[in-house]
């Protein structure tokens, strides 16, 4: 299926009375996150792609289809764009029940095996017990799950999500993220995802688009761009963290811990309630990773990892250190003072010390 790499080409201008959006980006297959401070035109960009807004000038092209072109006077109506769009407020149809909402745009393909089965989605999003309910009586998380199921049933070629997790409880949040990843993998539907939360991006996205005051600034692979970021304002309120996919090796229930591995690197984490062999997301806050410049003994922390520093970055009040072991990169955030004291430099060896309890295991939804 990986034939066309650029799935969506956008180059447009949309002016408002006191705001102007200038977007220039070629989205790639996979999951792209749009990350930017509020008021930078993220939603306007999605509105222009979906056909809700008409750009003043420019081009929007999905795969081989021109959706909008001011030069050729093309403006395909939203119903013919095949772009799924889940908005922030879920916008469920209030006169229809949950099931009718989900089936509203159901697009049954000729080859049924290729369609997305609504029942599969209902199960995956854990909506089975809600299908006969009135949509007015749903919680924020339930509403967003229904909205997502409804959009996916129309089998869009591209899926746009505008902060779908803003008013969503943790349970729904994990369900939704898991479903999106499954859908992306199974049906190769590219996802463009607006969010304020950096931790969501880290767990979820392959690519990231940065925007600033109405302009798209950079687009590229998440990890590369993230580390190259000059601007700390992007993640001011966010806890910087490393997210890893680990294999569960052994659950030691009596001690409440789990032995897991990434690329052969052994990590001790709090008990992961999953069978051995399953893959689980874990995250480690950069502030919780202690650095030592020589081996340490007699310490309670169970994870002592010999790594080498691959990059360092000076922030306002701290230093961010990226260290690699077995091809796994882990971030540590320490003070300028500590950094000077230890005499850390790129290329040098360092020991990462991480308490078991500092590792956060992303709860895995029951399926």
């Amino acid at each position: 299926m990986e034939i066309i790499d650029n799935i969506l080409e956008v180059s447009l201008i949309k002016k408002f009375e006191n705001f102007e959006l200038k977007a220039n980006v070629q989205f790639k297959r996979g999951i792209s996150a749009i990350f930017a401070p509020s008021g930078t035109g993220k939603t306007t960009l999605l509105n222009c792609i979906s056909g809700k807004f008409k750009p003043d000038s420019g081009l929007v092209k999905s795969f081989d289809t021109v959706l909008f072109s001011s030069d050729f006077k093309i403006d395909i109506p939203p119903e013919k764009r095949s772009i799924g769009y889940v908005m922030q407020d879920s916008s469920l149809f209030p006169h229809l029940n949950v099931n009718e909402n989900i089936y509203y745009g159901y697009n049954k393909l000729k080859d049924e095996t290729m369609s997305i089965d609504p029942k599969w989605l209902v199960d995956l999003l854990n909506l089975g017990h809600l299908v006969d309910r009135d949509v007015k009586n749903l919680s924020g998380g339930e509403k967003q799950r229904v909205a997502l199921a409804r959009t996916l049933c129309s089998f869009p070629e591209i899926l746009l999500l505008d902060e779908p997790l803003v008013s969503v409880d943790n349970f729904s949040r994990n369900h939704i993220l898991k479903t999106l990843q499954d859908v992306n993998r199974q049906f190769h539907i590219p996802i463009i995802y607006v969010t304020h939360s950096f931790s969501e991006i880290l767990t979820f996205a392959d690519y990231i688009l940065f925007m600033k005051s109405g302009k798209t600034t950079r687009y590229g692979e998440l990890m590369k761009l993230f580390w190259e970021l000059e601007d700390k304002e992007y993640f001011d309120d966010e806890e910087l963290q490393t997210v890893l996919k680990v294999n569960v090796l052994e659950n030691i229930i009596s001690n409440g811990i789990t032995k897991s591995s990434v690329n052969g690197l052994i990590l001790w984490t709090p008990l992961i309630d999953q069978p051995e062999g399953s893959v689980v997301n874990i995250s480690i806050h950069a502030k919780d990773v202690i650095l030592a410049n020589k081996p340490v003994e007699g310490i309670s922390a169970r994870n002592i990892i010999n790594a080498s520093i691959t990059d360092m970055k000076s922030l306002d009040t701290s230093v961010l250190v990226l260290a690699e072991s077995n091809g796994v990169s882990i971030m540590s955030e320490i003070t300028h003072e500590s950094s000077n004291k230890l005499g850390l430099n790129i290329g040098e060896d360092v020991y990462l010390i991480i308490k078991t309890n500092s590792i956060y295991v992303e709860s895995v939804p029951e399926l």
């Binding site: 056909g51 109506p77 119903e79 769009y85 006169h95 745009g105």
Partner: protein, 219 residues
């Protein structure tokens, strides 16, 4: 006790008002949709024109209808309407009642359409449903109550129509004499007893219409 003559007048009134409102309904839906969804040059003039029957003396509206429906008028030349002998029949009374109450219906329907969340219409379209199908599946059901409220209020106004009706349909007992006209005739001939009964009927009808309307807009 009601006499058969009064029952006949009552039924004729319902018939005249009901048919008048229903005949004007498609036009009211169309106008309400245009006013709530479209921007065009001269929109405020169009809006004002549609509201005219609300402020003009009904007699003037009646005269305009008389003019349109008489022999040799534009409508006669185009559609031969003069030969249909509509004037001075209950159909003429219906049209008069419908047109006088049209602005009320248009206004209610415009408000009902405007109150439908446009996001929902957009979502429907982005799920692959075209413009008109979206109108019938989303816009119309969601503005249903407001439309009903407009219809019932217009019906109430149509029941009370007098000025335009008497110009285009006259005051023919058993043919075009509706409640207000019957009240007028009874008062003129000094038959206070019948006048009172007709007035009572009108009041009951008005109460009924207003209660239904209230229920509809409060939901």
């Amino acid at each position: 006790m009601l006499y058969s003559e009064e029952i006949q007048i009552f039924i004729l009134s319902l018939q005249v008002a009901g048919v008048g409102v229903l005949v004007c309904l498609p036009f009211a839906l169309f106008a309400g949709w245009i006013l709530s969804r479209k921007e065009f040059f001269g929109k405020s003039l169009f809006d004002t024109f549609l509201s005219l029957p609300l402020v003009l003396p009904p007699v003037v509206t009646g005269y305009a209808l008389l003019f349109l429906f008489s022999d040799g008028s534009i409508l006669d030349r185009w559609f031969g309407i003069g030969k249909m002998d509509i004037l001075f029949t209950w159909i003429a009374a219906s049209l008069a009642a419908g047109i006088v109450s049209l602005p009320i219906m248009i206004r209610s329907i415009e408000v009902a359409f405007s109150s439908v969340d446009k996001n929902l219409e957009f979502v429907s379209r982005s799920l692959g449903t075209g413009y008109w199908l979206t109108f019938f599946k989303i816009t119309l059901p969601l503005s249903r109550k407001g439309i009903y409220a407009g219809i019932i209020l217009a019906f109430g106004r149509a029941i009370g129509e007098f000025g335009a009706t008497i110009v285009v349909a006259g005051n023919i007992p058993g043919k075009t004499q509706t409640l207000p006209l019957a009240i007028f005739t009874s008062l003129q001939t000094g038959d206070d007893q019948s006048a009172l009964r007709y007035i009572l009927l009108s009041v009951v009808l008005a109460f009924f219409v207003l209660i239904v309307h209230r229920k509809l807009i409060n939901h």
